[in-house]
Every structure is written in structure tokens, then in C-alpha cells.
């Protein structure tokens, strides 16, 4: 891992073998941006390269996922797959019961070879009903959602300002949007980002 990191580091800082495109500062050329093909999905049709649902079981490198529309998915996770659970995590963090969204490439045998998997990611809006130690009590349409601050991970975005690890400017009674990781089968969420209008 360390040697791979050294290769990547030297590539971004000073070029090296195998570099396709790099910048000292600023952007790549336009050919990089236009290199990707447009998605070939008709409007309204389900995207075959996307899956959502909850993990029923995990076997080797495959997640068995039951979608909310009762469609069953097999999702293969490889070394090049990114997993998110309040931040980048390793594959062993994917547990039965976790909800997920996955994007990748559908194989001929029906398996989704995942490029990205987001575990338990949620996006909720509500009013701050109360603030207690390391927790926001959110009123989301009358339902209470307990949002936990996670040290070193949770940030707040106040209006257009750059994000800050300081959540202490949030006020009781104000409206917020919380992006975070749901704790399965509870009304609790670990905060990734909390957006405040002011």
C-alpha cells in the first residue's frame, strides 16, 4: 500500500511513468472531460448499472441485496470499488442490514460489478428541536431523528461558507439538512455534513 501511495504521490506532484494527464496547477485539458461516454439510459427506464436496497447477506466478495421494490441484486465488490460509510471504509464494514446505493457495471450474468457503494447514506431535512451532548434532535415531519456528531468526520456548512468542523453555531429552532449515515433499524444518524441556511 505504501509503495502504491508513493507512486501516486510522485505522479500528482511531479509526473512519472504511466501518467496520462496531469497538471502542475489548474485543470486538465478538455479532452479529459470529454473522454467519458454519456449514459445510455432512456428517460424513465430503470438504470441497469444502479442498485439500491438492504444487504441480506455477505458471501466472499458479493453482497446479496434486496431492493425496496423487492428486486434481488448481487453486487460484487472488488479492490477498485469505493465503499462509503460516513467516509471511505473497507469491505468488512458492509454488514447485513445495511442499506445501500451502488453504481457499477452490470455483468452478463446479472451481477453488478460495483464501482461505488454508499452504505446507509441518508439525506434528511428538518428543524432542530434540541441540542444535547454531541447530538442534534431533529424534527422531521413530526418524527424525531437523533443526529450524532462524529469527531473528525462531521462538518457543518453555513450558507455558502467553506465547511467547518465546528457545529456549535447551529441553533435550536432553525432548519437544517443533514447528510449522514443511518444506524440501521434506529432513528439515529451519524452526521457527515449538516447544511445550515445561515
Amino acid at each position: 500500500m505504501t509503495s502504491r501511495r508513493q507512486v501516486l504521490k510522485s505522479a500528482v506532484l511531479g509526473g512519472g511513468a504511466g501518467v496520462l494527464a496531469a497538471t502542475a496547477l489548474g485543470s486538465l485539458g478538455p479532452e479529459a472531460a470529454f473522454g467519458a461516454a454519456a449514459p445510455g439510459v432512456a428517460p424513465g427506464a430503470p438504470d441497469p448499472d444502479f442498485a439500491e436496497g438492504r444487504i441480506r447477506s455477505v458471501k466472499d466478495n458479493t453482497l446479496f441485496v434486496l431492493g425496496s421494490n423487492m428486486v434481488f441484486h448481487r453486487i460484487r465488490v472488488v479492490d477498485g470499488t469505493s465503499l462509503w460509510k460516513l467516509g471511505p471504509v473497507a469491505f468488512d464494514q458492509a454488514k447485513p442490514g445495511d442499506g445501500l446505493y451502488a453504481r457499477g457495471v452490470r455483468m452478463p450474468d446479472g451481477v453488478l460489478a460495483a464501482e461505488s457503494v454508499w452504505l446507509n447514506i441518508v439525506n434528511v431535512k428538518g428543524h432542530v428541536r434540541n441540542i444535547t451532548s454531541e447530538k442534534l434532535h431533529l424534527d422531521h415531519n413530526g418524527q424525531e431523528i437523533l443526529c450524532h456528531r462524529v469527531a473528525g468526520k462531521s462538518v457543518a456548512v453555513y450558507s455558502d461558507a467553506p465547511p467547518s468542523a465546528d457545529l456549535s453555531l447551529l441553533r435550536v429552532g432553525q432548519h437544517v439538512q443533514v447528510l449522514g449515515a443511518w444506524r440501521p433499524d434506529t432513528n439515529q444518524v451519524d452526521i457527515a455534513t449538516v447544511f445550515s441556511p445561515h
Binding site: R4, R5, V7, L8, K9, A11, V12, L13, G18, V19, L20, A21, A22, T23, A24, L25, G26, S27, L28, G29, P30, A32, A33, F34, A36, V78, D79, G80, S82, W84, G87, P88, E115, S116, W118, N130, I131, S133, E134, K135, N141, G142, R149, A151, G152, K153, S154, V155, V157, P162, P163, S164, A165, D166, L167, S168, R171, V172, G173, A192
Partner: protein
């Protein structure tokens, strides 16, 4: 016991007076009547007239309770009204669990335990009021009456913004439950937002196929690795500072799983 019974017409009367006036003259309640559970019961078009009708009923019962003479019939009328409230709350809870009750003014909170406790307290007080007889009200009795009124007000979510929200704000200011953490720890999200704004990320984003694969900090820089099809994209962003133009990127032809 006689004294407590004699107190009830005043407590209920004042509470109903407030409820009736809000329903007849509250502008916000009229504007939001369509979102209350009553609109579900009688139809949105008839919600405002229904609120007015209930307001008139409440004022009539309040006037009968507050003005002499004291009759058992008044207690019975209040009992009927409060039993109706409780039935309405039960209906609202079942038929429209996300709607507010509209009992004492507009607010967005659905019917909860406090609403039921308030209606139950009012019903109990009304039943006691049936046995009300004229009785001299002395200071200890007045304290009981004030405590009862305070309980009714504390159980009213309509008033939360006047006392509960300021109280919680004060407690938050005193206790600082979300005190600022140590500044040397930069969360990944801070770097990612800087990244998203950078020309480097914008020019490479169409190539990215995965979310963050790897992150590490070295020499005041944070390195963030993404998959980009068969290639790998690595970004270097400054850990401190907020200039998006300082972000660098390289696309490397290397299997992402190497």
C-alpha cells in the same frame, strides 16, 4: 375538594376563552386550516367555517363557565366539549398522523402525547366542574389553580416557541454541547468540498467512475484517490487554506486494484 371543584370552571373557562378567540381571530390558523386534521375530517373547503363554529362553541361554554350563576349543566357542557376534543385527537392520530390538530393555533407539530395529556387534563377538570358550587377562593386554592393552568400551558406545543425554544437555546449557550473540536483534525469532507470547487476536479470529474478509494495525509497535503475507468485519478489538496486553484490532479494508467 369543594374548593378544587369551584376552581375548575375558571381554569377551563379561561383556557376555552383563549382557544375560542384564537380560532375566531387567529390569522395564521385560518391560513393553515387546510393542513390541520380537521380539514381531513370535514374537507379542506369547510375547515375554516368548522374552526369558527368550534370557536363559537368554546366561547359560549367559556362564558357560561366564567359568568355566574354556577350550574352543574355548565360542567356537563364542558365535559361534552372536552370528550369531543379527545375523540377528535384520537381520530387525528389515526387518520392524519402527520397533521397538526389546530386546537390552539397554527403549528406544524402532529398530535402527540402532550396533546392527549392536555385534552385528558381538561376532560378531568370538566368532570370535576360538574360538582362546582360557589366557594370562597383563598391563596392556597389560587396556587392550585395557577399550577393547573401552568400544566395546561406547558402541555401546549403552540406555546413552545415562547418558552421551550428560548430555554433550550439558553441551555445550549451555557452547556455548549457541540463545542468546537481541536482544529488540527481536518475532516475529509472539508477537503472534498474544496476539491469539488477546484478546476482540477471539474476537468477530471467526467472521467471518475468511483467515489473515494483511498485517502492519506503527507507533507501538509491530502491525497485523494478515485477510480477513473481503467485508470486512477489522484488529487493533491492542501490541508490548510481554501484556494481551490491549489488542487492538483493526475490521471494514471494503472489498474485501480494494483
Amino acid at each position: 375538594m369543594n374548593g378544587i371543584a369551584a376552581l375548575q370552571p375558571y381554569v377551563i373557562g379561561l383556557f376555552l376563552l383563549w382557544a375560542g378567540l384564537v380560532k375566531l381571530f387567529g390569522r395564521r390558523l385560518r391560513a393553515q386550516a387546510g393542513q390541520s386534521a380537521l380539514a381531513r375530517l370535514v374537507g379542506p373547503a369547510r375547515a375554516v367555517p368548522a374552526f369558527r363554529l368550534i370557536g363559537v362553541l368554546e366561547l359560549a361554554v367559556a362564558a357560561a363557565l366564567l359568568l355566574p350563576p354556577v350550574l352543574p349543566l355548565e360542567g356537563a357542557a364542558a365535559t361534552g366539549l372536552c370528550a369531543g376534543f379527545l375523540a377528535y385527537l384520537t381520530y387525528a392520530r389515526r387518520a392524519a398522523p402527520t397533521s397538526s390538530c389546530g386546537c390552539l393555533g397554527a403549528h406544524s407539530r402532529p398530535v402527540d402525547r402532550r396533546g392527549f395529556a392536555r385534552a385528558g387534563l381538561l376532560l378531568a377538570a370538566s368532570v370535576v366542574a360538574v360538582w362546582a358550587r360557589p366557594y370562597p377562593i383563598d391563596p392556597p386554592l389560587a396556587v392550585v389553580g395557577l399550577a393547573e393552568a401552568a400544566a395546561l400551558l406547558l402541555l401546549s406545543p403552540e406555546l413552545d416557541r415562547h418558552w421551550l425554544v428560548p430555554l433550550r437555546r439558553l441551555l445550549v449557550r451555557l452547556r455548549r454541547p457541540l463545542a468546537a473540536p481541536s482544529p488540527q483534525d481536518v475532516p475529509l469532507e472539508v477537503t472534498l468540498r474544496l476539491l469539488y470547487l477546484s478546476p482540477a476536479y471539474c476537468s477530471a470529474s467526467a472521467r471518475l467512475t468511483s467515489d473515494v478509494l483511498d485517502v492519506w495525509d503527507e507533507d501538509g497535503l491530502r491525497f485523494v484517490v478515485y477510480g477513473a475507468g481503467g485508470a486512477t485519478a489522484v488529487f493533491a489538496a492542501p490541508l490548510s487554506g481554501d484556494d481551490p486553484a491549489a488542487v492538483r490532479v493526475a490521471l494514471i494508467e494503472e489498474p485501480a486494484l494494483a
